[in-house]
Assembly symmetry: C2
Amino acid sequence: MISKGYKAADPVTKLVEELHKLPGIGPKSAQRLAYYLIRVPDEQSMQLSEAIAAVKQRIILCSFCANITESDPCDICGDMTRDQTRICVVEEPLDVPTLERTGAFNGLYHVLHGVIAPMKGIGPDDLQIGGLLERLKGGAIEEVVLATNPNVEGEATSMFIHNLISPLGIRVTRPARGLPVGGDIEFADEVTLGRALEGRQEF
Amino acid sequence: MISKGYKAADPVTKLVEELHKLPGIGPKSAQRLAYYLIRVPDEQSMQLSEAIAAVKQRIILCSFCANITESDPCDICGDMTRDQTRICVVEEPLDVPTLERTGAFNGLYHVLHGVIAPMKGIGPDDLQIGGLLERLKGGAIEEVVLATNPNVEGEATSMFIHNLISPLGIRVTRPARGLPVGGDIEFADEVTLGRALEGRQEF
């Protein structure tokens, strides 16, 4: 006589399912978040709901750098105090504020929105590479920094773009590979340590 | 000339802030989730947004057991095939489906919505204890299972409720403390092992 059929109320089940679709949120976390959202004041959960909706309604891609923005051109492309001769190519919009925080680059950006990943069916045409080439044709760009992630897919994507750009006679660079600051040589992996030695700098 | 003032677009910042308020979501995870939501098809993010809104609009507390539900009484309180003489008291709505999955209890539930925690300013009056006592006054209940969490606050809350119920002559029980199934005696903590020995059962 045990009613195995008991389920949480429908809107709860639906919310758990939707939260579970987010990256890094497993079924247990999704459940915990759902019950948390039920418990908080209406105001807080409505703010989250509206923020999710608003981000899709108000965000567009900058027609120059393909970064996400509310206005076109974006704040960076529209800022004439920045160095208009350098473009830093990154994989994701998230990489732009990360690089900006370093204060070490004052040029423009170009966001690819992914990497070439044949296994996932993502080819060069799925990325914002065409727009990058258009920008380079203008002739004003002197340097392209390829700041994709230092992993297999990122390196392959940078190599692909490098091959496209090199005939244009533009300088192509990438961030140095080496020991992370604050790291420990003992725990550095062989590849990183090898790259750090190859690229060793004057003391 | 480095523009330190660069920030992500406003709706993005807002979304990151709102996601960061969720339990277990740090600033980095919040950022990653926000950019994920920007990337997914509109449909998926709208479904999440609507699910969060719907859960607050459609969920009420069952006037009997205080569990969250779409209809009052809830599915469990309204199910006359269940044992109407036993009530299992739990801390959170989430505990109900967890206990239901065991198939080991076929009675009714009562959800406290928290535990007594003087340090957080949560007293007995902030919990659904009054409603529980009302249900017991009817005289139909023969057993109350106190299934709060086996930690200090849960135990203290159970002790408090036990003291209120015992004058009513109703049997008060709690789930056995002992070794977790699949566990290893070598790794059991002393308290659990002590409880397991005290409550040892016939082979």
